[in-house]
Symmetry: none
């Protein structure tokens, strides 16, 4: 995989590089990819903007680096949930629950990820589609497994089920990227704890899918 950061960036203390990436993410969520200024990130990180350019040749390179970091984290999450022999619905519930807590803890990553959907960010598409595909396959596998096991009705289209679950989880994760989205979530569910939201959504998913 192509590296979008300099060797210098590799050599600086991990703590520092982590901080830079984390603060970049935060700033990107708050200001948007386009309106985030390299200089602001540098200021927040307590380094000179010149240093930012010794680490990343351009703003786009910084964004790509962040995207790749997101991949690693996401892949790890996928691989962790593999090999577990849970019931399909327990599996979905666990993923939903994990996704939700990720969204609450790290809305920055979700926000930047969602920005990549827009046409004006298509230049990053090649960097992200591979992972998107992995996510889609991940869901399809789960659904197929459920059908094979007989726990999901075979009247249901597997592709559509994967699409729906993916969409529901995505929508839920999106609900924490901004006040605006939090308001919408509140409109939907009122003021209830997040675990409660998972439970409620699971009644739907079970209802829909369970035979």
């Amino acid at each position: 995989m192509k590296k979008y950061y300099s060797e210098t960036f590799e050599k600086i203390p991990g703590e520092k590089s982590e901080r830079i990436l984390r603060l970049s993410l935060e700033e990107f969520r708050r200001k948007g990819l386009s309106d985030t200024r390299i200089d602001d990130i540098a200021k927040k990180a307590g380094i000179s903007h010149g240093s930012m350019y010794t680490y990343f040749a351009s703003k786009d390179d910084l964004i790509r680096t962040i995207i790749q970091r997101g991949h690693q984290v996401q892949r790890q999450a996928f691989s962790e949930s593999e090999g577990e022999t849970l019931d399909v619905f327990e599996n979905i519930e666990r993923i939903l629950s994990t996704s939700l807590s990720t969204a609450v803890k790290d809305p920055d990553s979700i926000s930047i990820w969602l920005e990549l959907s827009f046409e004006y960010n298509d230049r990053f598409s090649e960097d992200t589609l591979v992972l998107e595909n992995e996510g889609i396959i991940f869901w399809k596998d789960i659904i197929k497994q459920g059908i094979e096991e007989g726990s999901i009705s075979d009247r249901i289209d597997a592709d559509a089920a994967a699409f729906c679950v993916d969409g529901i989880v995505g929508t839920l994760m999106k609900s924490y990227i901004s006040n605006h989205e939090k308001e919408k979530l509140y409109m939907h569910f009122g003021d209830i704890p997040t675990e409660m939201i998972v439970k409620k959504i699971m009644t739907v998913i079970r209802g829909v899918l369970q035979r």
Copy 2:
């Protein structure tokens, strides 16, 4: 509702004002709210740079005007589907189908709408939340009606069902805003006609909700 355009804008031929708003939408989807330049819109519309500023006091005002226009269209869609005494699932299917064709015909509106979810666009939140709320209530009503009619299982949480259906429809509409999203849709469903996608998704929704 506050007007964000000048009286001058009201007086110009409807055809011209329509064209300006339509081309603005197109440009906003392609470049993003932030990277779209007023001058580019003016050039596309064949009017002078300065004229844009006689119509809209600022770029944000243009965006707000576009948002309000979206509201009108959306409200019209809501009101049209009211008063019809369809079966709940027929109703959902029709909305799904309409939403899909809207997304295909006018991805620009969807794209700009989705951009408003991000924190860096929270300044537009007050202009949009009202309509978001209407949409949510719209779904809740449909679900409640279904439960009352007995066609939707009462084991299912109504709020969550509304959230899920809303999320699914939203995800589907998002699938047409960029090549990147189209690719993802293709990963999900392969190369099938759009009506087929609706049908497949309906097997899921019926399966989940139907008692």
Copy 3:
């Protein structure tokens, strides 16, 4: 001929556009093409640097515009000296004299022209070689004419004679672009009036060429 300035630049008062080009030339001679800052030219001309960019898309475009202006002036000079039926040596003397007074009055143009000889300015080559060629042909014609008339010895190689006269005139014109070059001229001739320099050089050229 391709235009390297905007339509806006064409429309501003001639006096203003002249001033901008003149001050650009001056600044380019003093600081060099590379170290001249657009902002400094703007300041000298009493306009905003933003305006400079409405006139010229880039610094290179400004340079090209200046080069083209130099062409026009130079071509005019060529065409003026045509059609006159002077003796070859009178002709050369007149050109030498004119060139010298041009160099004294407008060293800026000479300086920028000479900068174009360097490899790092080869990107402008296509804009200048045509005129260079015209200058070379101009000299060759004069020498040939002299040989045909019998006033120049036919033992002399015409190409080389054109090269030498061109080189001498070029060197003389170069002598006014900087203090450094003026010093060198002083080392050569001491403190004598410029007409005297022309006379002295003519003794050489006559001596060399006259049969």
Copy 4:
């Protein structure tokens, strides 16, 4: 003569210091004094950026060091041609020939030397004028010698003759610093071997000067 390099630079292997100076020259010709970056030279020479600064306190000091090196080489050339009892024209021809082959072999030195003529490089003037003067005296001596010997006509102004010969040789040497100049030389002489150019120019110089 003031040294513009550090003691450290004196201590490193001659081969290495030679390489650094040679590569600097090359880069300066290709990019120009102003646009050449110290870092690029360091990279080409395979040393670290910082090392360049342990050798030379600044970019200007590197340039001055290069200039002084040019002096040494040039002085050596002068001294070699002294003490030889050639006929004046043989002498000129030999210098012309030597200059030409120097220009072909080492256009980098010529290029940087010519850059020093411009006003924006006047800060190096004090470092170069001494040598320029030596060159001028060198030519004057040759011409005077020719007049004394009777091989150059006394109708000719000695100062002007020195100026002209100097200008011709300078122009010829300049002809190899860039593609642009090579094109001009080709316009003058077509595609002929360099020795032929010398021969042809000598017909002019002899013609002019020889009584």
